[in-house]
Amino acid sequence: MSLGAVPSAGRGLREAALADIAGLKTRHGAYFRVSTKSRLMAIGIPLALIALAFLSMVVLGFSLTRILNGLHRLGQFAVLMVPPEPQGRFVAFSIALGETLGIAFLGTLTAAVLAFPVAFLAAKNVIPNPFVHFAARRSFDVIRSVDTLIWALMWINVVGLGPFAGVLAIACSDFGSFGKLFSEAIEATDGKASEGITASGGNRLHQVRFGLIPGVLPVIASQVLYYFESNTRSATIIGIVGAGGVGAYLTELIRVLELKQVAFLILMILVTVAVIDFISTRLRMAIIGKAKIV
C-alpha cells in the first residue's frame, strides 16, 4: 500500500517484494494459506507411494549385493557387445526379420478383417440393444487382457511351433484391441450422414454401408497401420516362446552369451522398427489427409 515499499535505487526487486511480507500475509491471507487437506495430500500420497515401493522391494527380495553384482556383470556384457557384428549370420538374421514382419503384417490384417464386422455389434449407434453391445465389449476386454505371448503359447499347442502360431497369436490379441477401437470410432462418427440416408429411404444396412463406413474407414485404416507398427515390436519377441521370427535367435544368443551377435541383432531390429515407423507415419498422415505420400 504505502509507496515506501517501492524499490529505491540499488535495492533488488526480490528484497522489495519480501520487505512487506508480513503485511502482504495479513492483507491477502487466502493466497498464503494452504488448506490442511491439500497439505496432507501433498505429503501423504508421495509418502504412501514410497513406502509401498520399499515394501515391494523387501517382498521381492531386492538386495544391494545382488544389484551391485548384476551391474558389474552388465558392465562386462556391455564390453562384450562391442563391436556389434553378425559373425556370418547376417542372412539368417535377415530371413528371421522377414518372418517377423510377415507375422506382424498377417496378424494385424487378420485381426482387422475379423474385428471390423464385430465392432459394429459393439457400437451403441448401430445396435441399440444394450445386451448385445455390452456382451461384445466385455468379450473384447477379456481377449485384450490376455497378453500376446500367452496367446502364442496356446496356439503353439494347436498348430505347433513356428511363425504360424505367432500370426494367430497377434491376430487374437489385436482382435480385442481393434474391436474396442473400431467400435469407439464408429460411435464417434457424425450421425447426419445416416440421418440423410434414412430420410431418402435407406434401410439400416444402407445406413451402415453408405453413412457409417465411409466416415470410419480412414480412422480405422490409420489405427491398423499404427498397430502394425507396434506389432512389429511384439513380433520380434514372440519367438521367445517359440512362435517364430527373430525372437528365437535373440533368446538363444543371449543364453549362450554371443553378445556381439545380440547387439547386432538388436540394432537390426531397431533399424527395421524405425523404417516401419517412418513409412507407416507417412501413410497414416496421407490417409488422414494431412500430407501427400511422397
Binding site: V158, F164, I240
Partner: protein, 294 residues
C-alpha cells in the same frame, strides 16, 4: 402441390454423367491398385510366416478340444469340493499374482521417477540446450524401442532368476514410454507462469517447481496409471523368461498339459488385469476431473 424438377438438356446430362463415370473409375482404379498391393504383401508374408491354412482347419478342432480340456469338472452337487480341486494351488497362485502386481508397481514407480527427471530436459520449451534435449530424446527412444522382455532376458543372466530382473526391465521400458509422454505434457503447458517467474528472478528449478509442476502433475499421474495398467500385463509374462511373477507357473502348466491349471491361472490373470483396468480408469477420471475443475 408437387413441383416438377426441371430436367437437364440431353447433352448437359451426358457430359455430367461422363464426368461422374470418370471420377468413379479413377477411384475404382486407385482402390484396385491398393488392393493389389495388399494382396501381394499378403502372399509374401504368408510365404515368410509359413502360413498353413489347411493345418489350421485340420487342427481347429484341437483348439476347441484344448479349451474343452481346460474346462474343469464342476458339478452342482459337489461344487465347493470341485472348486477346491480346480484351484488346488490357490494360495500360491494368489501370492504369485501379488508378486506380479508388485513387479508392475515397482517397475512403474522407478520408471516414472527417471522419466520425471528426464522429461524436463527432453521438452522443447524447458531444455536449456539443444544437446541435452537431443541426448535425452535418443536415450528415451532407445529405452522404449527395445522390448521389455529382451531387457528381462539380459537382466536374468546379470541379476539371476527372480523378480528383480523383471522390475528393472519394466522400469527401463517405462522410462522410455513415460519420458516421451511426460515431455509432451510439458511442451503443452501454458508458458505465461514460466515467463512470470523467470521475470521475477526465479532459478530454473524454482520455475519448474512453481510454474510447471502444478500444471503437469495431473497429466503425469494419469499417464503413470495408464502405464501401470500396461505393466501389469507385461509383468504377467515376465515369468516366461524367469523374471518373476505368475508367468513361470503358467508356462509350466501349459507346457506340461496341466489343463485345469491353465484355465485356473488364466482366469486369475484375466480377472486381475480387468480389475486393475477398472480401478485405474476410475482414478484417471477423477484426476482428469481435478484438472478440469482448476
Amino acid at each position: 402441390m408437387a413441383t416438377a424438377i426441371a430436367k437437364l438438356p440431353e447433352h448437359q446430362a451426358a457430359q455430367l454423367a461422363a464426368a461422374y463415370d470418370k471420377a468413379v473409375s479413377a477411384r475404382r482404379m486407385k482402390g484396385l491398385i491398393v488392393a493389389g498391393i495388399v494382396l501381394l504383401l499378403i502372399a509374401i508374408s504368408a510365404q515368410l510366416a509359413h502360413v498353413r491354412p489347411l493345418t489350421l482347419f485340420a487342427n481347429l478342432g484341437n483348439f476347441g478340444s484344448f479349451i474343452g480340456k481346460t474346462v474343469p469338472v464342476l458339478t452342482l452337487g459337489n461344487f465347493p469340493a470341485d472348486m477346491r480341486e480346480w484351484y488346488w494351488n490357490f494360495p500360491k497362485w494368489l501370492g504369485l499374482l501379488g508378486q506380479t502386481i508388485l513387479i508392475a508397481y515397482l517397475g512403474t514407480f522407478m520408471g516414472a521417477i527417471v522419466a520425471f527427471c528426464l522429461c524436463f530436459f527432453a521438452s522443447a520449451n524447458l531444455a536449456r540446450s539443444r544437446w541435452t534435449r537431443i541426448v535425452a530424446r535418443r536415450f528415451l527412444e532407445f529405452c522404449r524401442t527395445v522390448p521389455d522382455i529382451v531387457f528381462a532376458l539380459i537382466f536374468v543372466i546379470a541379476f539371476g532368476l527372480g523378480p528383480m530382473a523383471g522390475v528393472f526391465a519394466l522400469a527401463i521400458h517405462t522410462t522410455g514410454a513415460l519420458g516421451k509422454l511426460f515431455a509432451e505434457v510439458v511442451e503443452n503447458i501454458d508458458m505465461k507462469p514460466v515467463e512470470g517467474l523467470s521475470a521475477a528472478g526465479a532459478s530454473w528449478i524454482q520455475t519448474v517447481r512453481y510454474a510447471v509442476l502444478p500444471q503437469v502433475l495431473p497429466g503425469f499421474a494419469s499417464y503413470s496409471l495408464l502405464r501401470f495398467e500396461i505393466n501389469v500385463r507385461g509383468a504377467g509374462v515376465m515369468g516366461f523368461v524367469g523374471a518373476g511373477g505368475i508367468g513361470q507357473e503358467f508356462l509350466v502348466a501349459i507346457r506340461n498339459f496341466y489343463y485345469s491349471d491353465v484355465s485356473a491361472i488364466l482366469l486369475m490373470i484375466i480377472a486381475t488385469v480387468i480389475l486393475i483396468d477398472i480401478g485405474t480408469e476410475q482414478l484417471r477420471h477423477r484426476l482428469i476431473g481435478m484438472e478440469g475443475g482448476k
